[in-house]
């Protein structure tokens, strides 16, 4: 393994409040001590004007394998991750068959070892068969490497199921990650409930449908002492509920997606199926509350909810289209629009993509920092480089994004995972000593 020297970049390592222009040397898969001399054959990356930070950790990714390999595979999804600066992705278990037992978790581990480009940490189901009745063999799955539990795509079906899950895995130190949705209120719903839905004649998905379930979950987390993680928060009301829960000391963490932070339900106008996502894109007022939530620490992490679909899946009537946005390759640039707009500090956005998600999933050799001796998971990005989203160039098989054709500012230039250069942009200047 060759040394990699990242020269002259602005190193931002939020876990240790580091922000300085310096060189970063990677040797034998680890971050080298400051002052270590690179080997003669080191790969040198000219990072002048760029940000060098820990590799991003996505705690909410759909890799679709096994079962939906025409949408994505572990191979294609991890290439998309690398292109987006992610060195770790936690894959959701709503595959076919679902990841609801240790053998299924091991299958993902093996496929990731054979075909994956970045770290893949599987999440196991809460309920057997994702059927919403009986909890899974969580201990067995944790032993096989599951880092959390979720029936994502659907909520934990009943309060009693979630209660049992939170209680049962309390000593596993793994979060139960809930997709919060009252499915009776969202029956047939296509997009955020409001004037845009009225105008388009589409059935609305009220904010309350999400908030009711978040409130239920928080009450159960308080009762059980279990670790609850709220997936993809989208409304101002969710931020309020989670804020109050954290103030009471309830063990709850929360994530938000780049698309919910930057797009509103107006993106659906024209019946754009690429803007159809669950939970749906909300309003400006919700976005403002989510941004405040990130700043205050109510929302711990930015996660992509990368949900790839084929072109044919989305080329249909709005009501027939599946929910989901392919997000790994635009996540950073989307989040940076908030930095460029002066709404969030750069260091905070990086923390929400690195050390904060590392804290949520805990352990697993992930620190989300660049401290000497840590595994070398590094992202290098140019925060000011403008580019146009061309989905034909996606590494993901899923080209379903409402950002297609849009100009974004901020581009990943290189990604290093476990000390290996797993992605570099064509425009990146590399040289040898």
């Amino acid at each position: 393994m060759k040394d990699i020297l990242i020269k002259g970049g602005r190193i931002i390592d939020p876990a240790v409040s580091r922000d300085e222009t310096a060189d970063l040397l990677i040797r034998a898969g680890k971050i080298a001590k400051a002052g270590t001399k690179p080997a003669a054959d080191a790969i040198i990356i000219d990072a002048a004007g760029m940000v060098v930070c820990p590799g991003f950790i996505d705690i909410h990714t759909h890799l679709r394998e096994p079962g939906d390999e025409e949408k994505e595979t572990i191979a294609s999804g991890t290439r998309a991750a690398a292109k987006g600066g992610f060195t770790t992705v936690c894959c959701m278990p709503n595959t076919n068959p679902p990841l609801d037992n240790a053998a299924a978790i091991e299958f993902v581990n093996e496929r990731a070892a054979e075909t994956g480009l970045v770290r893949v940490l599987p999440i196991g189901c809460i309920s057997q068969g994702r059927a919403g009745n009986i909890i899974t063999e969580m201990c067995d799955m944790a032993g096989a490497g599951a880092v959390g539990f979720s029936d994502d795509g659907s909520p934990a079906a009943t309060a009693v199921l979630l209660r049992h899950a939170l209680e049962y895995c309390r000593d596993l130190d793994r979060p139960v990650m809930d997709h919060c949705e009252d499915t009776a209120l969202t029956d047939g719903a296509q997009m955020n409930e409001g004037i845009i839905a009225t105008r388009l004649g589409l059935k609305g998905w009220p904010a309350a449908a999400e908030e009711i379930t978040v409130a239920r979950d928080v009450a159960l987390a308080e009762m059980t002492g279990g670790r609850l993680h709220i997936c993809h928060a989208t409304t101002a009301g969710v931020v309020d509920i989670v804020r109050r829960a954290k103030e009471k000391g309830i063990r709850v963490t929360c994530e938000v997606t780049p698309h919910h932070l930057t797009l509103t339900d107006e993106a659906v106008i024209g019946y754009n199926t690429d803007a159809k996502v669950s939970p749906p894109l909300r309003t400006r007022k919700d976005i403002d509350a989510l941004i405040v939530g990130l700043k205050e620490g109510v929302i711990d992490a930015i996660a992509t909810d990368h949900a790839p679909h084929t072109e044919v899946d989305k080329l249909c009537e709005f009501g027939y289209a599946p929910f989901g946005i392919s997000g790994l390759e635009t996540a950073l640039a989307s989040a940076l629009t908030l930095v460029h707009a002066g709404k969030l500090p750069l260091e905070l956005v990086i923390s929400k993509l690195t050390c904060e998600p590392a804290r949520i999933i805990g352990g697993h050799n992930l620190s989300g920092t660049l401290k000497a001796g840590e595994a070398a998971d590094v992202a290098v990005f140019d925060p000011n480089l403008s580019w146009t989203v061309n989905t034909r160039e996606f590494a993901s098989q899923g080209r379903n994004t409402p950002l297609a054709g849009q100009k974004l500012k901020g581009r990943v230039m290189a990604t290093i995972c476990r000390g290996e250069l797993v992605y570099s942009d064509d425009a990146l200047r590399k040289e040898s000593l």
Binding site: I195, L200, L202, I269, G270, Y271, C316, E317, G319, Y320
Partner: protein, 328 residues
């Protein structure tokens, strides 16, 4: 694509308007002049229909396909006759009897119809926005004959044309639309059309059947008055539009019983007296007599329900003629 946001009516142009709509998907992007042009063309078509031989060669050699994914009698027949009076070749495709039921996608079905020579496709679909998808993937002109809860532009145009036959102008008229507004494409298109023409619209229904977000339309929807009390909605109305109540709304839990709906919202002869004495009564049909409207009112001398049906053919002839004139 939805082309306009907010009230789309531009200032009245000096010269005669030029028809620019390759498709008729909704009337939210129609200007006042364009709606007037539809009216003028409709009047010309009514003259054709008054002739002993009601046929003109306008669309000779053109193929019109009606593609209906939802059952309909009057709208489909209305379009079919309109196309035939214009000498087009007409083919009717009902979703239940075609390969649609075998899972062929909408885009593929349209490509097939186009390969078969369809120049104009008249589409009815249970899902909102389906004709927008269609318009993006074919060269044929698409006319929306009703999509989900979204729009029914030809119904709105024929409703407005019918009103115009009795009232000197739509500007300033008070129009009450009463019934299941939330799920009514007829109501939505009429709200757009009537407000564009300067009418004052009040919508009225129990709150469970009112659309969401009307209090703050945010430029995304025309400003209308909202009422839950039918007597207040009817007060001084020039026009009363009643909507059909779908029985499944009660089954879906939006209404306690049909009985209570009837008690609260049926247009009775007594209630109609709250409107202006010369108020018109419209209904897009088919009518549930004694549910949303008393038979006596539906058949009464203020009712123009049958006129609507007759005018429907002429309006659709006008639209077929106008879209066929837009070459790609």
């Amino acid at each position: 694509m939805v082309k306009s946001i907010g009230n789309p009516a531009p200032a009245r142009a000096e010269e005669a308007p030029v028809w620019r709509h390759e498709h008729v998907l909704d009337i939210d992007d129609f200007s006042r002049d364009e709606i007037e042009l539809v009216f003028e063309t409709t009047t010309a078509m009514k003259d054709v229909l008054a002739r002993p031989i009601k046929k003109v060669p306008t669309l000779r050699g053109q193929t019109v396909v009606t593609l209906f994914y939802e059952p309909s009698t009057r709208t489909r027949v209305s379009f079919e006759l309109a196309a035939k009076y214009l000498s087009a070749d007409v083919s009717n495709l009902a979703a239940q009897t075609s390969s649609v039921s075998k899972g062929e996608s909408l885009v593929d079905t349209l490509a097939t119809l186009e390969s078969l020579g369809a120049n104009i496709v008249v589409m009815r679909h249970p899902l909102s926005g389906a004709p927008y998808l269609a318009s993006r993937y074919v060269n044929a002109n698409i006319i929306n004959a009703g999509d989900g809860w979204h729009a029914h532009p030809t119904q709105s145009l024929l409703d407005m044309y019918t009103i115009r036959e009795y009232k000197p102008k739509l500007d300033g008229l008070r129009v009450a639309i009463i019934g299941d507004i939330r799920h009514s494409r007829v109501a939505h298109s009429n709200v757009w059309g009537l407000t564009t023409m300067g009418a004052e619209v009040v919508i009225c229904a129990p709150t469970t059947l009112l659309p969401v977000g009307m209090e703050s339309p945010q430029g995304q929807y025309p400003k209308v008055a909202v009422e839950t009390d039918i007597d207040r909605a009817l007060k001084d109305a020039d026009v009363v539009m009643m909507l059909r109540l779908q029985k499944e709304r009660q089954q879906g839990g939006l209404l306690p019983t049909i009985r209570e709906y009837v008690r609260r919202y049926k247009l009775t002869p007594e209630r109609l007296k709250l409107a202006k004495p010369d108020a018109l009564v419209l209904h897009p049909g088919p009518v549930n007599e004694e549910v949303e409207i008393a038979r006596e009112v539906a058949q009464g001398n203020q009712s123009v329900i049958n006129k609507q049906v007759t005018n429907g053919v002429a309006v659709r002839m006008a639209l077929l003629y106008l879209v066929a004139g837009v070459k790609l």
